[in-house]
């Protein structure tokens, strides 16, 4: 899978914009008493669209940027986002889920992983993290809010990256099936002619 410079630039722009918008606006909007977190959703979206390696790299980069801009311990968010990006990409590579609601479920899982993982790492680093029911409630509410915006965020990321997405044999194959291309389940003699007939009817 070859990656073009256009794709790299688009991914960097998406990541940078997402972090800036997150810090400058989204984190200051309270919904149900919590703020949405765009970063894990963007990493998840890139992983689902571009695969595990690019997802993990995107996660590392965005995590590092978040840690830089929020003056946090460097590497903590990167570690979590690497897992999110890699896992989302592997899901795409192994299962290739085509259902429209997949980003919603994966976004919720990614947000939960980010919230719980951050609390655990903070706890392990000796920071007095408030490990209480309130924290769990906050994480659950953030998961809920992020689930609500997961689909639009995924759609926006796909729209931004789609023109430059690396060519993937799986996607090419699926596109052929859905547009009446040659299916391995059909004999070559039935393939194109049958589809044309069904379309013309």
């Amino acid at each position: 899978m070859s990656v073009s410079w256009s794709f790299v630039i688009r991914v960097l722009a998406v990541g940078f914009l997402a972090v800036v918008i997150q810090v400058a606006a989204v984190s200051q909007i309270s919904i149900f008493g919590v703020s949405a977190d765009l970063s894990p959703l963007v990493v998840m979206s890139v992983g689902l669209l571009a695969g595990s390696t690019i997802g993990a790299m995107m996660g590392f980069g965005m995590g590092l940027l978040v840690d830089m801009m929020l003056v946090q311990t460097l590497g903590v968010t990167s570690l979590l986002y690497i897992a999110i990006g890699y896992w989302s990409g592997r899901l795409r590579e192994l299962r290739d889920p085509a259902h429209e609601l997949v980003p919603l479920g994966v976004g919720a899982a990614a947000t939960a992983l980010a919230g719980i993982g951050m609390a655990l790492i903070q706890f392990l680093l000796g920071v007095d993290a408030p490990v209480s029911l309130l924290l769990l409630q906050q994480i659950l509410l953030t998961v809920l809010v992020n689930s609500l915006i997961a689909l639009p965020v995924y759609a926006a990321v796909r729209r931004a990256l789609n023109p430059a997405l690396p060519e993937d044999p799986r996607r090419r194959r699926r596109r052929r099936y859905t547009t009446g291309g040659l299916s391995p389940l059909k004999r070559p003699s039935e393939g194109l002619g049958g589809s044309v007939r069904s379309v013309s009817r």
């Binding site: 800036v20 595990s52 995590g63 460097l74 590497g75 690497i82």
Partner: protein, 294 residues
């Protein structure tokens, strides 16, 4: 080909995780002025104008979202604040009540000390009921025969004489106030010579008392204190210990005084705002004065 891809993917993952862990360890281990901290500060410095600009640009979006969010929460917040306000109002009412009661008890203690009431075995009682009529001449208190209360025992309040116990049950008593028409008290004006008379309610004005049977030549002035005489006067078999304040002279018309021997007296006790009273369960503590015939 596939193995090569897998190896490359795993290598990238391991590399990224290793770099993240190294960064984490190095950042956590170094001092505040270390290289990673400096780089972080530098990047924050570079990016802060971008962040500021983005914040300015996104202000309308933030405001609109904030407006909807605030509106969404407003109803819940109003309900919560109403509940809180209700609780605070209840607390304030309780504290105000306690403050009033405290003031009354303080005055009562002062009165006890000034007139030496302790010898009369006072029993403190809360007012738990009152006569709702305009005349307002009876109250119910929460001390009864089980506390040693008996009929005809005098009752005093924070500022002076309140009345006399008229009915008793084991747990409560009814007190007839000094404004009741059946009450007569032997009283003394503290005018220097101690002119004495009989105190009765004023007809047609339940908040006023009339001190009658005074000497016609008495020199009584307005605002002079009227206290219990503490002994039998004429037909009165006096129930009240001496020197308990009853009221002040409110109208001492010399012509009326000379012709009928009467002056107007305003009770010192605010009978409509009684919370705590004391019943003197031993009004004659072995003194001969209470039964002396003049």
């Amino acid at each position: 080909m596939h193995d090569k891809q897998v190896r490359r993917r795993r290598a990238v993952l391991v590399l990224l995780v290793a770099v993240a862990l190294i960064l984490l360890s190095a950042y956590f281990g170094e001092a505040g002025g270390g290289p990673l901290h400096s780089v972080q500060r530098g990047i924050v410095t570079v990016l802060s104008p971008v962040q500021k600009g983005a914040s300015t640009v996104l202000t309308p979006v933030r405001d609109v979202a904030g407006f909807f969010s605030s509106t969404f929460h407003a109803k819940t917040e109003v309900a919560q604040l109403k509940l809180r306000n209700q609780k605070l109002t209840q607390e304030v009412a309780q504290l105000k009540g306690a403050e009033i009661q405290n003031a009354q008890l303080s005055k009562l203690i002062t009165l006890n000390q000034s007139i030496g009431v302790s010898a009369y075995r006072p029993v403190a009682a809360h007012v738990i009921g009152s006569d709702p009529s305009l005349w307002y001449d009876q109250i119910e208190v929460d001390a009864g025969s089980s506390s040693g209360v008996q009929p005809n025992q005098p009752v005093i309040g924070q500022d002076g004489l309140v009345g006399v116990v008229s009915d008793v049950t084991p747990g409560a008593s009814w007190v007839t106030l000094i404004t009741n028409h059946t009450i007569e008290v032997a009283a003394e004006v503290q005018d220097g010579v101690g002119d004495r008379g009989v105190l009765q309610p004023s007809v047609g004005n339940p908040n006023q008392l009339v001190l009658s049977d005074l000497p016609h030549q008495a020199n009584i002035q307005t605002n002079q204190l009227v206290v219990t005489a503490g002994f039998r006067l004429g037909k009165l078999d006096d129930l009240y210990p001496p020197n308990i304040p009853i009221g002040t002279v409110s109208n001492a018309n010399q012509v009326t005084l000379a012709s009928s021997g009467q002056v107007q007296v305003t009770p010192t006790v605010d009978l409509r705002h009684l919370d705590v009273v004391e019943i003197l369960t031993n009004p004659r503590p072995g003194t001969a004065r209470a039964s002396t015939v003049p």
